[in-house]
Amino acid sequence: MINLQAIRVIYKYEMLRAWNTLLQTIASPVIATSLYFVVFGAAIGSRIEEVEGVSYGVFIVPGLVMFALLTQSISNASFGIFFPKFTGTIYEVMSAPISFFEIVVGYVGAAATKSLILGTIILLTANLFVDLRVEHPLVMVLFLVLTCISFSLFGFIIGLWATNFEKLQLIPMLVITPLVFLGGSFYSVSMLPPAWQTVTLFNPVLYLISGFRWSFFEVADVSVGISLAMISLFLLACLGLVWWMFKTGYRLRQ
């Protein structure tokens, strides 16, 4: 038996929370992305005209979308579960007839939905600046959905693990942001010196951005199959971790 009502209210009130903080949830990433777009697209784009046959302004769009999705999925989902822990209202979720599975579906589902909406909005915003073409829309949607779910799950794990606000910011700031910047969001890996190209191959975000970009322009640093495999692997790893947390009652039950 699954407590569908519980999933429904968690999802609904998490979405409602986003609605109440609309400015923070949607507007600020959109503005930030537009700024990146102006700065990178206009400033750098005037020097680099084309990357692998795609104009630079268009080339960076998939990277910008991924950048926003990753950071927002993590911050949304981590905050969603960290905050009740912080204020103590988590007692109610813990005393409810609800399994860890339902908690995860409710919180992560809401966070992933928000990211998906956000990603769509950013794509539409980008379309105002440049002419976007998408060669493989289904693959693009698949990448969007997989990314939203797996990084929301990852954010949820961080939110459970964090015992204070500092730890909550630690991984997004120290790990995710550098990985995204160095993962070819704003350039093609082939533009780097050979030594750095090899190093970059150890960056998981590279595979994500490369695959996502392929769905737009059929231009990729690594093959799209490997990209899909990597993101699926990451999703499985997060699911495994969450399952382990569920088994042990990690950081929730004393």
Binding site: T87, T89, Y91, P97, Q254
Partner: protein, 307 residues
């Protein structure tokens, strides 16, 4: 009929190594009001938290309506409502939303009419669109009660419901508790005050340092513990208690200025009227009178040291 809550050799040692509960056995009968009485740190909240699923037990087990709280938590938790000790509420939710959220969390389909009734009973109806951070402490306490009642529980835990609550709300709360109890809800509440337990409970459990010292019918407990003392201050010191007052077993203080009379509040008669008349007859002039009840601490001491 078996007890609705059966606690069997329940112990809890926190990760810090602190043992908060040691082998507690307790049966709570369906439909009763049980007060758990104990000083700070006695383990009351720990015990409630285990039954509600917030804290895992170290050893022992708990059955609610015959179901194990760990293996069959879906069944047991649906039956339970909890009003926590701390005023833990979100900040930006509205009263209406947070109470409906609770109902859904406990697996119940929406029922606006029922929630409306609960909010009206708790005088929260006018505040339903208010954000939680705008509410006073007493109103927040009421919201917590509304949340606990939102899924129509059969067992209600109230962890120190009267902390930070004014006289009026306390009276309202007791009325509500009685009404719920009349409709068949089993009620367990914790308190620091013996008067409170006396006012509302059918049975009283006394807990100290993680041990359940006794559980008894309120009436018989009050009889046992309901000793009061009357301190009589005299205008002039007496060398010894006069012979004519021997029957009262008065104790004189060292300086002879004060006499202490111990009596039983639950007895047929306290003997105070007679004592005052006899004091007058013995020619003693009174300066002041003061009565006091044994404090909870003294009761603990007497319970722990009793053979």
């Amino acid at each position: 009929m078996p007890a609705i809550v059966q606690i069997q050799s329940l112990s809890k040692t926190y990760a810090s190594g602190h043992q908060a509960l040691s082998t507690v056995d307790l049966e709570i009968e369906e439909g009763e009001i049980l007060a758990l009485l104990g000083p700070n740190g006695a383990g009351k909240t720990t015990m409630i938290s285990i039954i509600c699923g917030i804290v895992s037990p170290s050893t022992g087990r708990v059955l609610v309506a015959g179901h194990d709280i760990v293996d069959e938590y879906r069944i047991t938790r649906e039956l339970i409502g909890l009003v926590p000790q701390e005023l833990t509420l979100g900040a930006f939710d509205t009263v209406w939303n947070t109470v409906n959220f609770s109902r859904g969390l406990f697996g119940q389909k929406p029922n606006p009419a029922y929630i409306e009734q609960v909010l009206k009973d708790l005088s929260l109806w006018d505040k339903r669109e208010s954000e939680l951070r705008e509410l006073s402490g007493g109103m927040k306490r009421r919201v917590l009660i509304a949340k606990a009642l939102s899924h129509e529980p059969k067992i209600l835990f109230l962890d120190e419901p009267t902390a930070g609550v004014d006289v009026e709300l306390r009276q309202d709360m007791w009325k509500l508790v009685r009404r719920l109890n009349d409709s068949g809800v089993t009620i367990i509440l914790t308190t620091h005050y013996i008067e409170e337990a006396e006012e509302i409970a059918d049975r009283v459990g006394i807990i100290n340092q993680g041990k359940l010292l006794l559980v008894e019918d309120k009436a018989s407990l009050m009889h046992k513990l309901g000793k009061k003392q009357l301190q009589i201050e005299l205008r002039a010191p007496v060398a010894a208690v006069p012979e004519s007052l021997a029957a009262y077993k008065l104790e004189a203080s060292a300086d002879g200025c004060q006499l202490t009379y111990t009596y039983d509040t639950q007895g047929e008669r306290t003997g105070i009227t007679a004592l005052l008349q006899d004091l007058h007859a013995a020619g003693l002039q009174l300066k002041d009178l003061k009565s006091s009840q044994s404090s909870l601490e003294e009761i603990f001491v007497s319970l722990v040291s009793a053979p």
